[in-house]
């Protein structure tokens, strides 16, 4: 996108994130919370909105919401209540959503995010609890709502507890937005309160984005971007939208307030049909429910039972294992990965950074290719530690180890077994190597002389020759030792 040279344009982004809680039962009834399944098999009078039915709050959903609120450094409301948000939609059985309005459970939080940008503190406006809607299937036309002939409603999802998290407009770029969602996802996952699977809709992100010339005090027209179904698409959609709005601002064709749909394939956003008038939700306290005044002791007991949050895990990993900061970031994107790493590290006596290197540089690649998460690969953490030990002992070379890892990934066998099966024993016999080293010295007299004259960086060249002669099977450390001995001045 072209930008006029002398012009500084600021981007402002606020996020609204919905997290489906992984409780056993729904928010206000005993129906099971589960993904997929035959339509309308997990409904009851309450979540179908049958006349006469009444909601009763799921206590664990409250606890989970308080966990999220506290993890985002929010204050937990001393007095909170549920309200009805009234609007008609066929996927909403009562034609109102039980939500929170005036008094959300959590408010006034902050989340610090880091990345290739100055550390950013993003304000958390509110964290509240509400119920999810059912799902619509649009029949006819392209399958999108706009040109469908009719729709079919399934209420299995209706009434699933949903936490809504709203940020202040503190986010300044698509990169930061991506980092925010990544961090939030890691937090929610660490808390164990949701599956946080964006593709399945258990974590849903909407964004408000606007641009303005630096120095202006008013925000530009707010554009709401919808349909971002992965962290990657949050980045792509907002990058696109940022560029589009910047170009519009520069050309003088000011962006307008609207809702835009992100097209995953095209990587672009396009306007959705806009509402004729602002919704008038007629919020009022739900007379079927009573207020909540969580006691300090209850909140404290929830806090005590909170697992380690990613931010704490990161500083602990730095201190305990001395890992590089960038690697810590990668290893803490999910609790499962961090756990996997820690298990491998504890099965290994040397510097944990070596284990981390293997995970990040090699194992992740294999997992990506296979399209599975680390936790589902056949290699157990202690087996990776075994591989690293095998390299350390000189039994196999680093290069051979990569081959062994491939075998382990395919079979789940131990490293030693695979090395043996594939004949990957490193040449570590000094006697055997000695003659090869002698040959190489004879073939490269100039280089040998340089080493004898004290030019030690030429040793590497000779080591390379030995490795080539042995087809990579020689133990490079042993070769270096032999060369330095033989060519001592």
């Amino acid at each position: 996108m072209s930008t006029a040279p002398s012009r500084v344009i600021e981007t402002t982004i606020g996020l609204e994130i919905h997290v489906e809680l992984a409780t056993s039962s729904k928010m206000f009834c005993g129906c099971e919370v589960a993904f997929a399944g035959e339509p309308n098999t997990r409904t009851c009078p309450v979540c179908l909105g049958l006349p006469g039915s009444l909601p009763v709050v799921n206590e664990r959903a409250l606890e989970h919401t308080i966990r999220i609120a506290r993890a985002l450094n929010c204050d937990v409301a001393s007095h909170s209540f549920f309200a009805r948000k009234n609007y008609f939609y066929p996927d909403m059985p009562k034609n109102y959503q039980i939500s929170q309005y005036e008094r959300p459970l959590g408010a006034g939080g902050v989340l610090e995010i880091t990345g290739d940008f100055p550390t950013r503190r993003v304000g958390i406006t509110r964290v509240h609890l509400e119920e999810d809607t059912g799902g619509s299937l649009h029949v006819g036309g392209s399958g999108r709502i706009a040109d469908s002939e009719y729709s079919l409603e399934d209420f299995n999802r209706a009434g699933t507890p949903l936490v809504e998290i709203v940020t202040e407009p503190d986010i300044k770029s698509a990169d930061e937005a991506r980092a925010f969602v990544t961090e939030l996802r890691a937090i929610v996952e660490a808390l164990g309160v949701s599956d946080v699977r964006m593709e399945e809709g258990s974590l849903r992100v909407d964004a408000n984005i606007s641009v303005r010339n630096a120095g202006e005090t008013e925000h530009g027209a707010k554009v709401e971007v919808k349909n971002m179904n992965s962290i990657r698409s949050v980045g792509r959609a907002l990058e696109y939208e940022e560029g589009r709005q910047r170009a519009a601002l520069v050309s003088g064709d000011m962006p307008v307030q609207e809702t835009r749909h992100f097209d995953e394939k095209a990587g672009t956003t396009s306007p959705m049909r806009t509402k004729e008038y602002a919704f008038d939700y007629r919020y009022f306290p739900d007379p079927d429910l009573v207020p909540f005044e969580p006691s300090d002791t209850w909140i404290a007991s929830i806090e005590r039972a909170m697992p380690e949050l990613p931010v704490h895990k990161r500083s602990r990993l730095a201190e305990q294992y001395g890992l590089r900061p960038a690697d810590i970031g990668i290893l803490t994107t999910s609790t499962a990965i961090a756990e996997w790493f820690e298990e491998a590290a504890s099965a290994y006596d040397g510097p944990a950074q070596k284990v981390a290197n293997w995970i990040i540089a090699d194992l992740f690649g294999l997992c990506n290719e296979a399209g599975i998460p680390l936790t589902e690969c056949k290699i157990a953490p202690r087996q990776l530690a075994g591989l690293v030990r095998l390299v350390d002992s000189g039994s196999i070379s680093g290069k051979q180890a990569k081959q062994v890892l491939g075998g382990m990934f395919a079979t789940g066998d131990d490293a030693a077994l695979i090395a043996e099966k594939e004949g990957l024993e490193q040449l570590s016999d000094a006697g055997e190597l000695s003659s090869v080293v002698d040959e190489v010295i004879a073939e490269n007299p100039d280089a040998a002389d340089k080493v004898r004259a004290g030019q030690m960086n030429t040793v590497g060249f000779l080591v390379g020759r030995v490795m080539r002669k042995t087809k990579g099977q020689a133990n490079p450390k042993l070769v270096t030792d032999l060369l330095t001995q033989k060519l001592a001045p």
Binding site: P45, G49, P51, G52, F88, D280, V290
Partner: protein, 500 residues
């Protein structure tokens, strides 16, 4: 009033109270099947004239009666009232039995579950005789707003039985069922009780579960019995009262036995008479009867004193904002998607919803939905709904203050006796104003009972006295009503029943 000797039958039987019938069933003088049969016969005879029922369940009732008799013969009665039939206002959801709430919009709906009240009455062995008529969604004071037909007052079939629980009141008053359930949101049980010469008793809000009771105004609705005696009202209330985990607003303490000490008399009880209820606009015959009642209370050893309730003048405005506001949201679910009727089903969702609701709801329902939607809409919330919720606080405070110096409050149930069908249908506001004596106690949640205090001298129709107790003090309320009823001798006497 005594059980009499020899097996009672026919006419005598249908006028008995539930308590008397329970004794006959317990002694084996009467079987539930006989009783149920007699009531079915009575219903066949009188219902065409009063239109009390929307749906009769004769077969189910006889079946349940047979089961009750079998239990009794094994000595395993489910409760002291095992086998005494009951009817439900068609606002209570009944599994496998059509439930319409008096509205065309729910025609054809067969609920897959029972209301808690129904479940508890089934548990006590009460055969269900049917579902009674009501003003659509309980919105009205005459049953003329039923989506099907108006019910008629057994005392004068040219007049309304009151409402919204008019079908239940008409059925009990006509001898078609010994007792019945209604619901009281702004007086909907006390007022028809008063107009039909019956006892109508509203418990403390939260005392009886609202689960399965189709909501009109959630913060006001309470299930309430309509009976021929105070004792019956206390007994039926006790069957359903008590905590229900399915209703978040259900009071968690166990219910008391309201019959315990009901005959303790009223010597020394202090009765408050509301200064602001001057009787202006009341029918002279009603005022005379109520004044007599006050005198009788004094004669029985009670004392009278004036209490001031300045907030009560705002009761009607507050009620007619809060109830429609809650109703507008509660009734949003009737949209033609999941149950009930549907109109214009092949257009688009907005047209389908709007046409279904326009055709399915009656005028009064639409009027209240409109008022409520308006009162909650952006910009008006604070001025209307917010204000009304604050008036509610004032009403509660006034009552709390009054109860520092009195034990009970007494006032008329309604300003008039039963009015003629069609007399007030053109003026909704006038209809609303007739709830002036009942709505404050829905706003405050206090228990209140209407007990017959004789017939008005100007038209010979029944008049009700309202007795209001402190929150959760149903026992004192029933005790006073019982003493009054006994002393008056109206209930159970030939004068106390309509010539139908």
């Amino acid at each position: 009033m005594t059980a009499g000797s020899g097996p009672p039958s026919g006419d005598g039987l249908v006028w008995r109270t539930a308590t008397e019938l329970a004794r006959l069933l317990a002694s084996g003088e009467l079987s539930s099947v006989e009783l149920t049969g007699a009531l079915i016969e009575r219903s066949d005879a009188v219902d065409p004239g009063i239109n009390a029922y929307l749906h009769r369940t004769d077969e189910l009732a006889l079946e349940a009666a047979g089961a009750a008799d079998a239990r009794r013969s094994r000595g395993e009665a489910a409760s002291p009232f095992d086998g005494v039939p009951v009817a439900y206002k068609d606002i209570f959801v009944t599994r496998g039995v059509p439930t319409t709430c008096g509205s065309k919009i729910l025609e054809g709906w067969v609920p897959p579950y029972d209301a808690t009240v129904v479940e508890r009455c089934h548990g006590a062995g009460l055969p269900m005789l049917g579902k009674t008529n009501l003003d659509q969604f309980a919105m009205g004071s005459s049953t003329e707003n039923s989506g099907f037909f108006p019910s008629r007052n057994p005392w004068d079939t040219g007049r309304v039985p009151g409402g919204s629980s008019g079908g239940s009141a008409a059925a009990v008053a006509a001898g078609a069922v010994p007792w019945a359930w209604g619901t009281d949101t702004g007086g909907s049980v006390r007022q028809p009780g008063g107009l039909c010469g019956l006892v109508g008793a509203k418990p403390t809000y939260g005392r009886i579960s609202r689960y399965g009771m189709i909501a009109f105004a959630s913060s006001l609705d309470q299930a309430s019995p309509l009976t021929r005696s105070v004792e019956d009202a206390a007994a039926l209330m006790a069957i359903a009262a008590g905590h229900d985990p399915c209703d978040s607003t259900s009071i968690p303490s166990p219910a008391e036995n309201y019959l315990d000490g009901i005959d303790g008399g009223i010597e020394g009880l202090r009765f408050g008479i509301i200064k602001e209820f001057t009787g202006e606009g009341s029918q002279p015959g009603v005022r005379a009867r109520v004044d007599d009642a006050y005198t009788r209370l004094e004669k029985l050893g009670g004392t009278l004193q004036e209490v001031s309730m300045p907030s009560f003048q705002h009761g009607i405005p507050a009620y007619y904002l809060i109830a429609p506001a809650e109703a507008s949201s509660n009734l949003a679910r009737f949209d033609g998607v999941r149950y009930g009727s549907r109109v214009a089903g092949d257009t688009n969702i907005v047209t389908m919803n709007s046409m279904t609701r326009d055709e399915g709801f009656g005028a009064e329902v639409k009027r209240r939905i409109m008022i409520g939607t308006y009162a909650l809409s952006a910009g008006f919330y604070d001025a209307y709904y917010g204000k009304a919720q604050r008036v509610r606080t004032l009403i509660i405070q006034d009552l709390r203050r009054a109860y520092e110096s009195v034990d009970l409050i007494v006032c008329p149930t309604s300003p008039t006796t039963a009015f003629k069908l069609g007399e007030r249908t053109d003026d909704p506001l006038a209809m609303y104003l007739s709830d002036v004596y009942t709505v404050p106690f829905n706003l405050s949640g206090n228990p209140a009972v209407s007990v017959p205090c004789g017939l008005s001298s100007d038209d010979g129709l029944p008049v009700g006295l309202q007795i209001v107790a402190k929150t959760l003090d149903e026992k004192t309320m029933f005790r006073a009503a019982y003493a009054f009823e006994k002393d008056l001798g109206f209930a159970g006497s030939p004068e106390g029943r309509p010539r139908l």
